[in-house]
Symmetry: C2
Subunit: 105 residues, 2 copies
């Protein structure tokens, strides 16, 4: 999988995942990996960044299976950002796909 393709898209995937339900980092890593192979060291800093930018809020929940989990919850600002990024991706991907298909003629 081309690393470069992931740039920016990972942010969208993470926003969409957290928008769907509150989730903690480790679970999110596992979930995102089902779609795009990705590293822990990529997701955690991304979560921190998106929290700093006001898209997420966090809270801790004790766990019986290890250290406490930091849950991420999306904010109103986060929802706006999600829609923005999503439509931007859809437009982008469509125009790239159109170009690829035209080239095949």
């Amino acid at each position: 999988m081309n690393t470069q393709f992931k740039k920016g898209v990972l942010e969208l995937i993470v926003l969409l995942s957290v928008a769907k339900k509150d989730i903690y980092g480790y679970e999110l890593v596992a979930q995102v990996c089902k779609i795009i192979d990705v590293n822990e060291g990529t997701i955690y800093p991304l979560l921190k960044r998106l929290t700093n930018e006001g898209y997420f809020e966090t809270y801790l929940v004790e766990s019986t299976e290890g250290p406490p989990r930091k849950y991420y919850h999306i904010t109103v600002l986060g929802k706006e950002r999600t829609e923005e990024l999503k439509s931007s991706w859809i437009t982008f991907a469509a125009s790239v796909n159109k170009f690829i298909e035209e080239e095949n003629l």
Copy 2:
């Protein structure tokens, strides 16, 4: 347009464009801009990189409208790289789109 989305994709667009026909930098910039808004300062270094990596060969052609044009011609290696990147993109974009649609349910 999200800058990050372009990462890696620009390489594919440029490869496909040169594969279609020999083209010089300035014309390529104009053509790529129709699909994705992009900077001269992005395209020229990319052309240089792809040439160094053996995907393109170049030759100069005099012009009556300005300085000589450096044409780019795709190599066999370049064609292989194009196919590789193209199928990688198609897989990637499809799986991201699938995820986005699922999230909408």
